[in-house]
Symmetry: C2
Subunit: 133 residues, 2 copies
């Protein structure tokens, strides 16, 4: 059994961040669960465009508020505690945090290795490209 505490990991190298967001990697590929699990905090007012071309991701809002827009058709959905979105079609999307930080529980399949960086197109590379790099 693996037991980990977000409040401890957030001060370690399992927390990846930039000015707009922090992602704490609770489970990564090397945990061999078949998915990765992250607690991601997006700062109030921050604005993100992502396009996970090689991953499925589900995102559940624990706290905060914001909006997600499907960039292929312009549809916007309100994000509030209890709302989940799932990118089952590798959806190109824009996520904007409202006047509170968004705290989100995120699952990725295939699991994130922890070595990915967001590329210019908002995607993560597939794991086999990372291995070749």
């Amino acid at each position: 059994m693996i037991v980990r505490d977000f409040n401890e990991l957030k001060n370690t190298n399992r927390a990846v961040s930039n000015e707009q967001w922090t992602s704490v990697r609770m489970l990564l590929a090397d945990d061999n669960m078949g998915f990765s699990f992250h607690i991601t905090t997006l700062k109030a007012g921050s604005d993100h465009t992502f396009h996970y071309k090689h991953h499925f991701e589900s995102v559940y809002c624990i706290s905060g508020n914001g909006q997600i827009t499907e960039l292929d058709n312009g549809t916007t959905h309100e994000i509030k505690p209890g709302v989940m979105y799932a990118l089952n079609e590798h959806d190109h999307h824009r996520l904007v945090a409202g006047d509170e930080d968004l705290v989100m529980a995120c699952c990725f399949n295939p699991p994130v290795t922890g070595k990915e960086v967001h590329r210019e197109d908002g995607s993560y590379a597939p794991a086999d490209e990372l291995e070749q790099a």
Copy 2:
């Protein structure tokens, strides 16, 4: 993109419950994400023994308090907001909710179909046994 709201689903047949717990199925196998995602509430004071012999599960505590015990070796861990446990060895375990309801974000691989029931040994049947049933 799939968008679902826990606060709507909890009043539908996506919520499965007994006297001790309620599990709201945010994502199931037929969503084709490769995992399922559930928000599970375990009533204060309730006591559960589970053994997912055919699934990996991670469980993240959103709110509440309790304890998990590894039944193979007796080790007990405190559960509080921010703590996650992952059953990476199909661990036989006992979960006891404390003086508040435990609200947990749960990921299963392989994804739960929604047709499983807990068997006497605390497991869910593998999906291929369900298909044969």
